[in-house]
Symmetry: C2
Subunit: 372 residues, 2 copies
Amino acid sequence: MNIKENIKTLVIKKPLKLDCGKTINNFPLAYETYGSLNKNKDNAILVFHALTGDQFVTGINPVTKKDGWWSYAVGPNKSIDTNKYFVICANVIGGCMGSFGPSHKNPDTNKIYGTDFPVITINDMVNAQVNLLDHFEIKKLFSVVGGSMGGMQVLQFISNYPDKASTVVPIACTSSHSAQNIAFNELGRQAIASDHNWSDGKYLSNNTLPDKGLSVARMAAHITYLSKKGLQEKFGRKLQERDALKFGFDADFQIESYLRYQGSVFVDRFDANSYLYITRAMDYFDLVKQFDGNLSNAFKKTKAKFFVISFTSDWLYPTQENKDIVIALNAIGADVGFVEIKSDKGHDSFLLDVPDFLKTLKNFLDKSYIKR
Amino acid sequence: MNIKENIKTLVIKKPLKLDCGKTINNFPLAYETYGSLNKNKDNAILVFHALTGDQFVTGINPVTKKDGWWSYAVGPNKSIDTNKYFVICANVIGGCMGSFGPSHKNPDTNKIYGTDFPVITINDMVNAQVNLLDHFEIKKLFSVVGGSMGGMQVLQFISNYPDKASTVVPIACTSSHSAQNIAFNELGRQAIASDHNWSDGKYLSNNTLPDKGLSVARMAAHITYLSKKGLQEKFGRKLQERDALKFGFDADFQIESYLRYQGSVFVDRFDANSYLYITRAMDYFDLVKQFDGNLSNAFKKTKAKFFVISFTSDWLYPTQENKDIVIALNAIGADVGFVEIKSDKGHDSFLLDVPDFLKTLKNFLDKSYIKR
């Protein structure tokens, strides 16, 4: 796909020292905006995307021609109301929707980076994105909001830039990737690396694509995004366009067909090496360790108002891991609200039409905006 | 590996009509026994193995040179006391430890079956194994015992042969594979099928092995065998033989190294096509549907004494699914005991050193044996 014509890019000239030790500069950060920045420049919300998201939050994604990943939540009169707020979202560095990533050419060698791209972290991602504030001459964001890996970026952002947001909304996330989280990500990485076409990451130079491995990685991740109960209610043991079992290895069950479909459409829009880099960044995320075991210290410099949201059936980043953030905030007397939303839709609840969630998010933002 | 010299095989001459419609006969069933059959021939226990198990229940497996898969539970003075009981275990058909399976040659074509092997079911597995009773001239087993897929075979066995066992012990299992169960199995199958070396199942004829795909399948399954809490306690974010993150894609974390190891040792002992066939059999298992939605009817012809065991942290076959079996048995006034064992070791608890489980199993069997 030719993505360039649909992509707005900010070239970050300022050198950025990455956690791995390397310094990058003059690198592209692809972004999109929705709504209008007001005169006071105090109505901006920086939205952070999750593992496979991108800058196209809402409306039709011009590259995939499908709905933006947060179309339920972001738009006119929606939870994040673009009649009111100026929404900015950037593709993370390491990604594949225009921001500096492993499918870019290394200017020193003129070869595609592949796995020669530096390993990046959640910290590197937010340090790249903070440049957007200078670009738009925004001194302080009204809010930083994100779910899943987006939530990790929210936490890292306010920790790094305690004065740069008035409100902070981490959703369905964690302050430290668990062993099970790492295990599922490693499974995905191994699936990609096992694909004969991956060629140690040099597939773009070879004109091949590790689609099968990337598809398996997506299937694995997708199972973790849904709850056992949700899967049972939606699919159960329903058969796929057949009256009886076929005694073969085609997709007899709807759940099999669904997973295969999810894998197959994913490879059309995502880069395998980006999948490796972004999952690595998630696994490296440990805000607790960054503050020597005391998460409260990550937040002690900010006066921002926090609102933490979790979902009952999210087993990837369960309520307890979200509560741990609340506990750390309470321990320093921070202004923090918390809600656990009842939903059978698992981790994906934050992306789906879950009215209680959408209303709760809207209420928090709109009431905080009036009081600002 | 040359497995033949260590394998006892019974050739089943009697035709067996499979659920897929095909009939097989003169096929090998590999089995092992432990302890001695008494004069009355009423001390025999048929143990059914799980997905990747085999007939080598305890002691050193002569093929892998490692401990048998249920060495904690089976042996002299152990839960299943081989000083007292005569333990029989067969490799399931479809398997790869000597029983009729996809790595065997098709006598009609003299070619290795591969995916031309008929799709088999849990029902087919137990209908093959019941021939062992005739072989040993056992009219009635003292018990049928098994965990996970072994538990499914236990349930199917007593449903098919209500008079052939006095006691019935399904452990950590289900009466019907859930959508999430099917999803994880399908993930494993797709990982195998994605391996370039799989070659539509013809790898043995091609002298290649889909080791990478099979390894990924094993990694996926392994995550489901352990609990989130157990993984966190055992591995957490501990690093693998290093003091700091390496900013690369080697195994930085112990959990990554552990999963890679589990994958790599698995491919030395297991056949990829067998993995496809056995997971398919599990996914097809639906004892509820076999009895038109009323599980109680599966058990109404038997007078056997049931004992159902589940584990608190088993999220693959959670307690509720085990309780559903108990509820169906209670509904017809069957003799049934149930216990949920507290353990952080997840689904694998039944294979591990979980003293409460091992004692409970021993007590049930030994007390029932006295009263028989």
